[in-house]
């Protein structure tokens, strides 16, 4: 069985027409005055899913999350959570909890009472609260900090207190607004895996808002790429990366080379483009009409660079000249100038420490790719 991105998934309720979504946004629009933050958006999220809303700032992802939490009311449309329309329910009555970007810890309370705050609001007996708080402290490994105030903690510790507080009430859904934005890179990477383990362990639905594509790719089961209040694509990280549905998504996630051309032939699962540096012959289900312009998106690591011409230099191949070389340690990035003047980016994994006669500046090379290496974009 072939799968995108070498991942076989056992958890894929979105692919099963029998499964019912846990959270449904239906035709949600949110306007602030004249500004439309979320534009007639429809989206399903499933039980136990780790779902990421990804987009640049101002794309409406935070507004969507805040509507789920209850801080904003949609201008129109409905939000269904576990079979119930929650659009009119105030935040303090919703079975969802949120972890804030600023952590929003209560500065006048100890770590303990911060974590127990939600439980006290529910009128849980004192002994039970103490027990649950201990559990939570253990979960986030902060047992010895119970009596501290938030300002007596480091950034990473505060983040864990915020997490423990939002999990203490055992919400049906945990919302995370840029949860790792304030941490440094190393800590962020560690915490990403901790969050994934936690989500698995607790069996909760997580909805995370982030502008960091790497974070979304690492953690999420599925990603919704948003732009201007609309969802552009919802898919698994591998699908988003390997089969972006538009120029925007291809460009937003990772690096990409866009090769323009005119459609010469299309059909039977193949598309041929001509007119650019490459004569592109690609495996694709897209069926653009012959004669129109189209684009072919290919990731840098899928371009092959060689000194000798490939077997069939007429197709998916172009000559070029090494323009720039960047050595990044794990890989080397080459910028290659094609005959038309267009520069493409390629990357090679540095699998060996020493390479005999490596490619150098100003060398003439051949750039080629396989028929299945890229995507024909409709636009």
């Amino acid at each position: 069985m072939k799968s995108l991105g070498n991942i076989r998934r056992s958890f894929a309720p979105w692919a099963d027409p029998q499964s019912k979504p846990f959270i449904s946004f239906r035709n949600i629009t949110k306007k602030f005055g004249d500004f439309t933050a979320v534009d007639n958006l429809t989206l399903d999220i499933y039980h136990r899913e780790f779902f990421a809303l990804l987009g640049a700032s101002g794309c409406g992802k935070s507004t969507l999350l805040r509507m789920l939490a209850g801080f904003e009311r949609p201008t129109s449309g409905e939000i269904i959570l576990d079979g119930q329309d929650i659009a009119a329910i105030p935040p303090y009555k919703r079975p969802v909890n949120m972890m804030f970007q600023s952590y929003a810890l209560f500065p006048h309370m100890t770590v303990e009472s911060n974590i127990g705050f939600g439980l006290r609001q529910d009128g849980m007996p004192k002994a039970e609260i103490g027990e649950r708080v201990q559990q939570m402290l253990k979960l986030v490994k902060l047992e010895q900090f119970a009596k501290r105030k938030p300002q007596q903690l480091s950034g990473g510790q505060r983040q864990r207190v915020a997490l423990a507080r939002s999990l203490a009430k055992r919400p049906k859904v945990l919302l995370l607004d840029e949860p790792l934005g304030a941490l440094d890179k190393k800590l962020r990477e560690e915490t990403q895996f901790e969050l994934m383990d936690l989500q698995q362990q607790l069996g909760l639905t997580f909805v995370v808002v982030t502008h960091d594509q790497e974070e979304a790719m690492t953690m999420a089961d599925r990603i919704a790429v948003m732009s201007h209040g609309k969802v552009v694509q919802v898919a698994t990280p591998a699908e988003i990366y390997e089969a972006p549905n538009s120029r925007f998504v291809a460009d937003f996630i990772g690096d990409v080379n866009i090769l323009e051309g005119n459609v010469k032939a299309a059909g039977n699962g193949r598309v041929e483009l001509a007119g650019g540096d490459f004569t592109v012959r690609a495996v694709s289900d897209a069926a653009p009409s012959v004669g129109t312009s189209a684009a072919f998106a290919i990731r840098p690591e899928k371009l092959k660079v060689s000194r000798t011409a490939p077997a069939d230099p007429a197709v998916n191949t172009s000559e070029g000249e090494i323009w720039d070389i960047a050595y990044l340690g794990d890989m080397t990035v080459l910028h290659i100038k094609l005959p038309s003047g267009k520069v493409v980016k390629t990357s090679m994994l540095n699998a060996q420490r020493e390479v005999e006669n490596p490619i150098g500046y100003d060398e003439k090379v051949w750039v080629s790719f396989a028929e299945t290496a890229g995507v024909v974009l409709r636009d």
């Binding site: 810890l105 939600g118 507080r165 939002s166």
Partner: protein, 272 residues
Amino acid sequence: MTRWSRFNIVSVALGFAFLYLPIVLLVVFSFNESKLVTVWAGFSTKWYVSLFNNQGLMDAAWVTIRVALLSATIATVLGTMAALSLVRYTRFRGRMLFSGMVYAPLVMPEVITGLSLLLLFVAIGFDRGFWTVTLAHITLTMCFVAVVVQSRLLSFDRSIEEAALDLGATPLRTFFEVTLPIIAPAVFSGWVLAFTLSLDDLVIASFTSGPGATTLPMKIYSQVRLGVTPEINAACTLLIALVAIGVVIASIVTKQRELQRQRDEQAAVAGR
């Protein structure tokens, strides 16, 4: 350390003399044996004794304290509410007008405030006395509280309140369990400010007071017109002492809090 030049010493001495010489004179002469305010005749505390036996002054002091306590408390509640609505509901119609109007009494000449209140009380047939002074002082001090609390609220992270709502606290409980404890220092300073303003107000009290509700500043002012007695000096010295103690306590509390914050930061760094 910087060396003190002669010029610096002189300017500091002059500055302080300018500020405090009158007050020092007043305090010194409150301990004067003589009945004449300007002639020193030896140390005595008899004017303090006679002050406490002066029923008129003591009554006036009692009225002043009651007015100040009550008006400061009510002004703090109203001022905090005004500040909250001004900071929080930024999109209501007429907000600019409303916020401008809240601050107008800050710059309004007291004579005008006093006169307009007097006209109002007369028009509605409200008998002048304790309550009219209190109401007038609420009007005067509310905007000061609003300004102090508003500046604190502007730097308040709203997501803290959202977090409380999110965790199941109703808006009311959110206010009392989260917002109020956090802004409490500002609310308290607003109260202290209102209390002091009410304590030393003469103009508005003169306009709005009635029989049996003479405040201490009014009493002192009317007695001074008949000639300053050392009793007045004693009364003023006590007032100064009261204010000084308040200021000292407030600065000690602030200092302690600052030290605590520094210790917290060190603990946070060490606990990494």
